[in-house]
Amino acid sequence: MDNIVLPLFTSGFMDNHMNLLLAIAIGIMFGFILERAGFATAGHIAPIFYFKNLMVAKVMVSAIVTAATLIFLGVIFGYIDYNNIFIPSTYIYAYLVGGLIFGVGMVMSGWCPGTAVTGIATLKIDAIVFALGLFVGMYFYFEIYDGYEAVRELANSHNLGRFTINKLFGSDDIRVSYIVTLIASFGLLAFVTIIKKIIDSKGEN
């Protein structure tokens, strides 16, 4: 254990074959937990957007806070190499447009790609339809990406690279990222809780 650095694969302590096996094992656990937590039903996911049921917000905040804390502790005690944690590059405009499309789709369908796979595993027809729409959308994007220069320019413009919260505040100290993550997560939970209480008090839920 003393000579191991996490993450195992990107730090060179695990080969590709073992990494894929581990990914399958983690995926099975993740799918099981998602299903048990109620995320295999669109009717449990969509209500968050109408402030009717805060289950999604509570689970997401719990997951984010737990992951952020474990990563933070691992980094400061020298078990995790922060440089080797996969963080995709930040393409501002592409992410804004993609996030908008993603958000509209999620509210309309009650699914996101991860939960849709869980829904498919539990044979939900709407999850299967969502996944078909997902693949059609991806195919459509690949076609217009190849066909239109403007789309390629938008998709690849304003790349900030591996941009983390602490860099946003001009610091190399990851405590900044951790604290902001806690504040943002609990702030979001507080926000949706307050809105729900307001709506409940007006008798609209």
Partner: protein, 106 residues
């Protein structure tokens, strides 16, 4: 009951993180990086002993990112790449294998 357990569990996790954030500073992270660097160097030496120069260089590249001023790093790099090497083989980017990255989000 389960709600209470969940809330207490989450509270303990947050408390651990907050305590760590308060009781450490940037220097702690720098020291942690040095510790990681030493681990990579140890593994580079082990890789060299088993004859895997590429793996040894890969570990050295990672070590260099964490602590570029580590003297042991340069010594091990010389050992791996021969006496003519003045620094770890970080100037040469390893042949990049085509990597397909899929981020499905939530």
């Amino acid at each position: 009951m389960s709600k209470i357990v969940s809330a207490v569990g989450l509270g303990l996790i947050v408390a651990a993180g907050a305590l760590a954030a308060i009781s450490t500073n940037y220097e702690t992270q720098v020291e942690a990086n040095k510790k990681l660097c030493a681990t990579y160097i140890t593994n580079a030496k082990d890789a060299l002993k088993s004859g895997d120069k590429d793996k040894a260089n890969s570990f050295l590249d990672k070590a260099f990112k964490l602590d570029p001023k580590n003297k042991t790093l340069f010594e091990v790099a010389k050992e791996i790449n021969g006496a003519t090497a003045a620094q770890p083989a970080t100037g040469e980017k390893p042949k990049a294998k085509k990597k397909i990255s899929i981020d499905l989000g939530c």
